[in-house]
């Protein structure tokens, strides 16, 4: 049981001109499941390897339970890691794979036997203890890798994309198994993935990284609902958030957002902030907040946009994705519609944007512009 505190961590690889990790600070609480999420090459695996002690730290500190471990060798950090490749020792059977780390730590044979049997029973590996890794299926190998971490009873679990080699069905069940084990054992876990579904479902909190830097840290739904910038907005959510370039017009008191032939009153955002925007911004709206037909009549947060032409319709079974082109807007807009969407490619439609769930981003910095609570003020944004 441990807290992990990372302070101003940076990593420069030999021969690399640019920092792979830049000035990263992060604290993982005792028993917390923290997910590092980001596209490949964003530095998340480097962070994990520095925590594990597999990679030297260029600058900054990693502390476990308040003790800085920068100079502590990997073997003495009391950390267990599950690798993407599982890293099972191919010349040892499952039992020895599980027991290998315990033997080195001078644990009595009877205790090793007890722990290995316990973990194997918990993970359904009892029938395979005498098998070599090559005689196991992908899912079984994954469970052995997890078992190897569990028997160690470490202070911290590290996971480096452990599910990405599994097929879709197995990934879901293993994901649930992993969550269950972590919650049951209560061991602090840091989990690296580029899969946003894993991040959303597994983490107590997620830390989104891009180009070696932390972009946003928060609870999964918080981050999903309140992205800090367009990177998070596009990276979380599938399909990603629609970003519509808008021009801003108005005086110090009231502004309009214009795109194509549409003009909306921008009352959810502070006027003085809008006047600093150089007349341009991005309106972000998630596909589930765009409606094919008005879901609630009389809700003034819903704005109808006419003349959208249907570019493509993708029925996914449980839902239908409709790709639309709005008049005068270069970006296509994706709508998450019900499974019985009536729209067909080539048709024209009127759609409803839920401005109550929309975000506005600064086009230059890509940062979100904080909303203000306008419920108390009279009237919601109305088409002008």
């Amino acid at each position: 049981m441990a807290t992990v505190a990372i302070t101003a961590l940076s990593k420069l690889y030999d021969g690399g001109g640019e920092l792979a990790v830049k000035d990263l600070s992060l604290t993982v609480a005792d028993g917390e499941f923290m997910v590092l999420l980001g596209p490949s090459g964003c530095g998340k695996s480097s962070v994990l390897r520095m925590i594990a002690g597999l990679e030297p730290i260029t600058s900054g500190t990693v502390a476990i339970d308040g003790k800085v471990v920068n100079e502590v060798p990997a073997k003495d950090r009391d950390i267990a890691m599950v690798f993407q490749s599982y890293a099972l020792y191919p010349h040892m059977d499952v039992f020895n794979n599980l027991a290998f780390g315990l033997r080195r730590r001078g644990i009595a044979a009877s205790e090793i036997e007890r722990r290995v049997q316990g973990a194997a029973a918990k993970l359904g590996l009892l029938p395979f203890l005498k098998r070599k890794p090559h005689a196991l299926s992908g899912g079984q190998r994954q469970r052995v890798a997890l078992g190897r971490a569990i028997v160690r009873e470490p202070k911290v679990f590290l996971f480096d994309e452990p599910l990405s080699n599994l097929d879709a069905a197995l990934r879901v069940s293993t994901r649930n198994e992993l969550i269950r084990q972590q919650r049951e054992l209560g061991i602090t876990a840091i989990y690296v993935t580029h899969d946003q579904i894993e991040a959303m479902t597994m983490g107590h909190r997620i830390c989104i990284m891009s180009k070696g830097e932390v972009v946003q840290i928060g609870k999964p739904l918080e981050v999903y609902r309140n992205p800090a910038n367009t990177f998070v907005a596009r990276f979380l959510g599938n399909p990603p958030m629609n970003l519509i370039p808008v021009t801003i017009q108005g005086d110090a008191r009231s502004h309009q957002l214009r795109f194509g032939g549409t003009s909306l009153a921008a009352r959810c955002w502070p006027a003085e902030r809008l006047s600093r925007l150089d007349g341009k911004a991005l309106l972000g709206i998630r596909p589930e907040d765009v409606y094919e037909a008005s879901p609630r009549s009389g809700d003034e947060r819903l704005v109808a946009i006419t003349g959208a032409s249907v570019v493509a319709v993708e029925p996914l079974g449980a839902e239908t994705l409709v790709v639309l082109s709005l008049p005068g807007v270069s970006e296509e807009v994706i709508v998450r519609s019900g499974r019985e969407s009536k729209l067909r490619p080539g048709e024209h439609a009127t759609i409803q944007l839920d401005l109550g769930a929309a975000h506005l981003f600064d086009q230059a910095t890509t940062e979100v512009i904080a909303r203000i609570d306008v419920k108390r003020e009279a009237g919601w944004p109305r088409t002008a």
């Binding site: 990997a74 890691m81 690798f83 993407q84 890293a87 020792y89 010349h91 780390g101 080195r104 090559h134």
Partner: protein, 285 residues
């Protein structure tokens, strides 16, 4: 409806015909490589007069006693023992040292690692004839001339390059994750070498052991220059001994050759499959 017919005889013939160049090649290759061996094997069981009377005949009477004679009267026991000491020691040292060097080169990035690799692997392209005079001088100065120890050292030095080359290629394929996992499991670098690299590298180790054994067992050039006393000679020198300056005892020469070939054939029969696997297969599937 007619079920798809089995291939017609004509079709079969065409297939055979297409394959006939390959079969012919295999046949010629087998005759060229296996023929001389078979001939020597037959001659090793015949006496010299019998051989001169009819070189290619099968033995009219099998002279097993020639093997006993070669072993006892021609000092063959000593040669065989010398060869065994030299080759087994050299191969053991080569395997351990070569594996350690290969492990370091494949696993660690250290200052000057490219230089070290270049120096070691440049041994691959140096012809032995080039070094023989200087080696002779060095061994003389260190009182290692005419000793088995001297020859063992020369063999280890001479074959380290090819050993490291083969092993490094294999070790480099072992995923880094395995080493990282072992480090997190608490093992030191040396322990990781013994418990991870060596066991996983067994197929490659078999390859180098077999290869080095066969080459060193037959090595002649260094041995003939660096050993002069009869009781220090290795098998290849002993065989030359049968070719006296005045006479050529073909029958005993053949017997001597068969004794010398024996261990190589045995080794190859036992390990050829593992060796080929080691040369072709990846480290970890």
């Amino acid at each position: 409806m007619i079920a798809p017919a089995a291939k017609s005889p004509a079709h079969n013939w065409a297939a055979h015909l297409r394959r006939s160049p390959l079969l012919a090649f295999m046949l010629i290759y087998t005759v060229i490589s296996g023929g001389p061996f078979l001939w020597v094997a037959v001659m090793s069981l015949r006496t010299t007069p019998e051989i001169f009377a009819s070189p290619y005949a099968l033995p009219s009477r099998v002279h097993w006693e020639k093997f006993v004679e070669a072993w006892t009267k021609s000092n063959y026991g000593t040669y065989f023992w010398n060869s065994t000491i030299v080759v087994v020691t050299a191969v053991a040292l080569l395997t351990i040292i070569g594996a350690m060097v290969a492990h370091c080169l494949a696993r660690y990035r250290f200052r000057g690692n490219r230089l070290v690799r270049f120096v070691i692997l440049s041994g691959l392209i140096l012809p032995p004839q080039l070094m023989i005079l200087s080696l002779f001088q060095i061994l003389l100065e260190y009182r290692l001339y005419n000793t088995l120890t001297g020859l063992i050292i020369v063999y280890v030095a001479g074959h380290l390059a090819i050993t490291v080359y083969i092993l490094e290629g294999f070790f480099a394929q072992i995923p880094q994750d395995l080493f990282d996992a072992a480090r997190l499991d608490g093992y030191s670098d040396l322990e990781i070498f013994w418990r991870i690299t060596l066991p996983i590298g067994v197929p490659a180790l078999f390859t180098t052991v077999t290869l080095n054994f066969i080459i060193l067992w037959n090595e002649f050039l260094y041995a003939v220059v660096l050993l002069t006393e009869d009781d220090k000679r290795t098998l290849p020198l002993g065989i030359m001994h049968f070719m006296g300056s005045h006479q050529l005892d073909v029958g005993m020469l053949a017997t001597g050759l068969m004794i010398a070939i024996g261990p190589v054939i045995l080794l190859y029969a036992l390990f050829s499959e593992t060796m080929i696997k080691g040369m072709t297969a990846g480290a970890v599937r």
